[in-house]
């Protein structure tokens, strides 16, 4: 018992050590770019911006660690009216000297796949790094939530045990502090969507911080889809008061309502746009800062800069953990607010004409 409690007290130190080792390990990733370029007999300096952008953006190849066994060549699935559906490994796009070649009439044009004959882009449905991360996130979400639900069913009336005891306070916090006060009476209708949203963004943010992981919630397409879902749910459930406030704003002289109308219509769209950009920028900028600090080691080429930058990366990673949780909370909070505003019952009928 005493050994266990000593271990528990050491956990914060162990976590810091863990994050420190991970940040150093992440730094070693710059090696393959350098080694490969030296093989190609080009005097290549370490291009920090290219490495950073490559780590933050999506890719068909997943570099877990250096060496041939550390790269996963994800499948490419393309469809075009000329050639139909084609599925092949992205390994075919790279020859033995790690240069890009064309394959079977397709070539890599920047990050898009284009036909070699006409140069136009094809419909790219491949499993890229971000898609694979999204699937991993979905599986993790299903496993964790189902085990919490099972635990709740088995332990009903008793104290929660295991993973249920970790997630139940979080679920109750979202229900009691975020959803119920903002939505009001009909909160149970929207609770599944909001809880899924919160845990999806939280797990996506945290998974993106692991070394070798893809940047899931830092992809503007992912956050755009989440914001569009919120937009659809808000506007489908908007009641008469919501729409009348937009198109025929009460409390104003009748001619001014036509002036306010375009502003209100733009206001419908700025809400999901702000949700999209807020989550995307917070996560991507955090990743870029961490990668830039690691790249400092390779720009200076000195081991003391490496030690210093690893300590800085440790602290910035702790801030990023906080940002991961806060951005998930803020997205869910704003979604709950927008839904609440859309379905609010009007109590103040007296100051309308």
């Amino acid at each position: 018992m005493s050994v266990f409690s000593t271990f528990l007290r050491r956990i914060p130190v162990l976590c810091a050590l863990f994050i420190f080792i991970f940040s150093v390990a992440r730094g070693q990733h710059g090696e393959p770019a350098q080694a490969i370029e030296e093989e190609a007999e080009v005097e290549a300096k370490f291009d920090a911006s290219e490495v950073i952008l490559h780590h933050v953006m999506d890719d068909h190849v997943w570099h877990l660690f250096d060496g041939h066994s550390g790269t996963i060549f994800l499948p490419v699935i393309v469809y075009s009216p000329e050639k139909g559906l084609d599925v092949f490994s992205s390994h075919h796009f790279y020859n033995d000297h790690h240069q890009q070649v064309e394959y079977n009439g397709y070539k890599l044009d920047g990050h898009h796949i284009a036909l070699t004959s006409t140069g136009e882009h094809v419909l790219d449905l491949s499993i890229t790094k971000n898609v694979a991360m999204l699937l991993i996130n979905a599986v993790l979400l299903v496993v964790i939530v189902l085990s919490v639900a099972n635990g709740y069913r088995k332990n009903s009336g008793k104290a929660p045990k295991g993973i249920q005891s970790f997630f139940e306070p979080v679920i109750l916090f979202i229900r009691d502090e975020v959803v119920k006060p903002n939505i009001g009476r009909q909160y149970e209708k929207f609770l599944p969507y909001l809880l899924t949203l919160f845990f999806f963004i939280l797990f996506g943010n945290l998974l993106g911080l692991l070394p070798g992981a893809g940047n899931l919630t830092g992809n503007i397409a992912v956050t755009l889809v989440l914001a569009v879902l919120t937009f659809i749910i808000t506007n489908i459930n908007g009641n008469k008061g919501y729409w009348s406030h937009i198109f025929w704003t009460p409390g104003l002289p009748w001619w001014m309502r036509f002036v306010i109308l375009p502003v209100e219509i733009i206001g419908i769209f700025t809400k999901p746009i702000s949700l999209t950009v807020r989550l995307f920028v917070a996560i991507t900028a955090g990743h870029i800062v961490i990668l830039a600090l690691i790249a400092l080691t390779f720009i200076f080429g000195s081991i003391w800069v490496g030690v210093g930058s690893s300590i800085l990366v440790l602290f910035i990673s702790l801030i990023e953990l906080l940002v991961a949780g806060i951005q998930a909370y803020v997205f869910t909070l704003f979604t709950a607010l927008y839904i609440g505003m859309a379905i609010a019952d009007h109590e103040h009928h007296d100051d309308h004409h």
């Binding site: 950009v277 807020r278 920028v281 917070a282």
Partner: protein, 75 residues
């Protein structure tokens, strides 16, 4: 005009964004300190609200940072 002017502008823009974030979060921190000094028993709630608002302001500064980064990667 040289591309170097654009990159210099990006650097200045990133610095201004940092100033904006610093002022904003500084004001939040200042009011949070005052609130905690007045009412130490509310310090938990004030700290929680301060962290969340700081994250929102930081995102606004990061908007500008991302645009400056995009400019600095021009060829």
């Amino acid at each position: 005009m040289d591309i170097s002017y654009a990159i210099m502008g990006a650097g200045i823009g990133a610095g201004l964004a940092a100033i904006g974030a610093g002022i904003g979060i500084g004001k939040i921190g200042g009011s949070a300190m005052e609130g905690i000094a007045r009412q130490p028993e509310a310090s938990g709630k004030i700290q929680g609200a301060m962290l969340i608002i700081a994250a929102l302001i930081e995102v606004a500064a990061l908007f500008a940072l991302v645009i400056c980064l995009l400019i600095s990667f021009l060829k």
